[in-house]
Amino acid sequence: MDLKSKLEILADAAKYDASCASSGGAKRDSLDRKGIGSSGGSGICHSYTPDGRCVSLLKILLTNSCIYDCLYCINRSSSHVRRARFTVEEVVKLTLGFYKRNYIEGLFLSSGIIKSPDYTMEELVRVARTLREEHGFRGYIHLKVIPNADPKLVEEAGRWADRLSVNIELPKADSLERLAPRKEIGAIRRSMGHLRGVIDEAPRSNGRVFAPAGQSTQMIVGADDANDQHILTTSAALYGGYRLRRVYYSAFSPIPDSSKALPLKPAPLIRENRLYQADWLMRFYGFDVNEIVAGGEAGMLSLDMDPKLAWALKHRERFPLDVNKATREELLRVPGLGVRTVERIISSRRVRSLRSDDLARLKVPMRKVSPFLVLPDHRPTRLLDRADLQAWLKPAPARQLDLFAA
């Protein structure tokens, strides 16, 4: 099989992993001319595909052959998909070729499980080691960690890679057992725990580098019956337990040659979007899971409106807030005010009292915030009593939603 056919198969097989971040890597350059590449800082998206996703890394599998039979996965052993396998040298050559042309920030390498977790992990490590040692590659490397692989291999992976990730796959352990019979939640969590342990240690160990961009994970949404509360509770525990930089949510999407055990219906992308919004509220806005979920019904977030607005409508007694007096924490809970806008409001009101036109100039969505805020020239008390406030605030449905309406 020629390189192009392999690339087609192994890029297609990797695209269900949502992560493509290249931020937070170690600060490196190649001014010494002994290698190639640089990293560190905010990450760069070198292109965008028509699904709106960023292309930052060469995201491929080493092989899509797999001895596991995870039903949600296109690469499961019982699937009819065409199989291919790169050699280590081919991956190295592609990475360097793309990198020199400024197509990518680096490599995100994962793999189906071939022979055993140790054998597979060893192959992944070999690619990273070859890039770093033989070619002096200083770009970004993200390696997938295979649960149950020898901790020594994982520790070597962390020496070469900027980021490591272990996928939690599904929000509930019993769905993992049902849909991925050979994967074990315990092994996944122990891998994450092991990574956290070594990542925590690294700054204290003399100059030894270990995965400076930390670890992340991915959860498939809509392939099992877990509700949003379950998903977010799992996320919160993962953030707290393993210091993950990110939890990626991936709406289950139909795959070619899918299994009978799965819903044929794709999960609505808007659900994935709401989960990301909720995740943000947990991490940057001081909300906890139960508060967020209470904005919806029966453990599910509202699909009609963002979770902060949903929460605010159920807590009207907390509003309206005086823009010129409310605390930072209070303002962060106002639908339509983001972290940066809140900082600007706080900085500005130290100079003088703010009025409606100040907020308008700060590009605050006035219609959305008006029921929740008091300004010297605006008093919304009546609006908050309107029974149809929700309808009044509801955004016109976006066109994208129609495409995926189930």
Binding site: S47, G240, R350, R361
Partner: protein, 490 residues
């Protein structure tokens, strides 16, 4: 700098001459020249401007000599932002920066007023330039033109602002070991491998030439796209159409968009297929469960690993079994593993473990001679941001976990059992215990072993004053010493 009536005309050395701007601005402020009486020229527009509107502005009215303005004190961050705004293509940019400086000398807190129109415009322009630099780092596409000495790379790029020199150092750091050239309509940057040379602008034809790798790159791009998630608006928000003509992969976009819906429908309509029969042997990954499985403590630990008798297993990392010699005479029971124990899979390795070790040492009891375990073998917690906050196990959870403790007691068969804290006492005695009242007094357990209740080391860590901590620690040492003394006292 020249003067035309009341209008002060500043001729800068080029589009990116920020230092020239700075010098002129300082002089103009010292002369008290208000912003509307300045005009800033960066190149050959000077000729046009001489006869255009610029020259007439303000010249009819004769200016009263203005008082000098003190040069405002500005932060380093403001200077950096101003330098960035200086690269914007807007010809009013230098007057805007000058106006801000002018106003800052009277309104020192102006920059805090994020809603001021000048401040907003300044911020937006800086943001636009930074974004343009970032997009250039992202969207430059090199082609290998194979010079006489091997690889040589050329790119054609069209930035929105005057950013070539600001964007070039990124490529130097990244590709210092290569030779490359970036051509833009206004300027060009050439890296010799040693030096960065900035030259005149170029024509796109100078860079036109294929590169065989572009075909592979397009294959990659087409295959990472997921047609079931088509969302071209999101793509265009980050990669506006004006960039497409210089991106080799972008020529695929119209076709990928047009065929996405039919491809997705085909996947959904295709009936699920029968699974492929697995060929060849599959290596067994699950732990070996052969007939000669482990016995004794290892067997208990192995079985406990799969325990789901209460819901705590689901969010915890792992079961944390007890640790120590199988024939230990002293067994210490704690409450439950904490954050670090959950990660390490071993009991008493965190901060409370350190207190525990210190107390054992002072009591003259070697930890290596004791069997150390917990009443509950999974960590119970509540996530709080990047931390997990310990939560006390319920009586139900203690009860669910009790069979593991009983099997440990049976197997190790210690003479003395130390219960650290109320949860441990609850687990061993099956009743609620007031630790402070019952601690330190040995008593016989129903099975004849000695029992000693002591405070849990994490309780000591939570105490407020040093005096309280010292007293509680001394009590713990006392109780452990008492327990140690009971060994052999059957």
């Amino acid at each position: 700098m020249s003067r035309d009536g009341d209008l002060h005309r500043v001729q800068l050395a080029g589009e990116t001459d920020f230092d020239g701007f700075r010098e002129a601005a300082r002089k103009l402020l010292a002369e008290g020249v208000p912003p509307h009486r300045t005009t800033w020229l960066t190149g050959d527009e000077a000729e046009v401007d001489l006869f255009g509107q610029g020259g007439g502005l303000g010249s009819a009215e004769s200016a009263a000599p203005a008082p000098a303005r003190p040069a405002p004190r500005v932060s380093r961050a403001f200077v950096d932002d101003a330098r960035t705004v200086g690269l914007h293509r807007d010809r009013e940019r230098f007057r805007l920066i000058y106006r801000l400086l002018w106003r800052l000398s009277e309104e020192p807190r102006l920059l805090d007023l994020a809603s001021d129109p000048d401040v907003i415009q300044f911020r937006e322009m800086a943001k636009a330039v930074r974004r343009d630099i970032h997009k250039m780092h992202a969207f430059v596409r090199f082609r290998d033109v194979q010079g006489p000495d091997g690889e040589a790379f050329v790119a054609w790029y069209e930035p929105d602002h005057h950013i070539l020199e600001a964007a070039a150092p990124f490529f130097v750091k990244r590709f210092a070991s290569l030779r490359w050239t970036i051509l833009t309509p206004e300027r060009s940057a050439h890296w010799t491998g040693e030096d960065l040379l900035i030259g005149p602008g170029a024509h796109p034809s100078a860079a036109q030439q294929g590169d065989p790798l572009e075909d592979l790159w397009r294959s990659y791009y087409a295959n990472v796209f997921n047609p079931a998630r088509l969302n071209p608006e999101a793509m265009r928000a980050e990669m506006p159409k004006r960039f497409w003509k210089n991106l080799p992969e972008a020529q695929l976009i119209p076709d990928l968009v047009a065929t996405a819906a039919t491809r997705t429908a085909a996947m959904i309509e295709a009936a699920p297929t029968l699974p492929v029969q697995r060929r060849g042997a599959v290596v067994e990954i699950a732990p070996d469960q052969g007939s000669a499985g482990p016995t004794g403590l290892p067997a208990i630990a192995e079985a406990a690993r799969a325990c789901r008798a209460c819901p705590l297993w689901e969010q915890a990392t792992q079961t944390v079994p007890g640790e120590g010699p199988a024939d230990a005479r002293l067994m210490v029971v704690g409450e439950q593993p904490g954050d670090l124990e959950d990660i390490a899979g071993k009991p008493f390795v965190g901060p409370a473990g350190a207190v525990f070790d210190r107390a054992l040492a002072e009591a003259g009891v070697g930890r290596e001679r004791a069997y150390v375990t917990n009443a509950v073998k999974h960590f119970k917690f509540e996530p709080r941001g990047k931390r997990r906050i310990h939560k006390r196990p319920s009586v139900g959870e203690i009860h669910a976990c009790r069979s593991w403790l009983e099997r440990e007691l049976e197997t190790v068969d210690p003479e003395v059992v130390v219960m650290l804290g109320a949860s441990a006492a609850q687990a061993v005695l099956g009743r609620a215990v007031a630790v402070t009242r019952e601690r330190g007094r040995p008593f016989r357990l129903p099975d004849g072993r000695w029992g000693v209740i002591a405070t849990h080391p994490s309780y000591i860590l939570r105490l407020q004053t040093e005096a309280e901590k010292e007293a509680a620690f001394a009590a713990l040492v006392h109780d452990l010493r008492t327990a140690g003394g009971l060994v052999g006292a059957r």
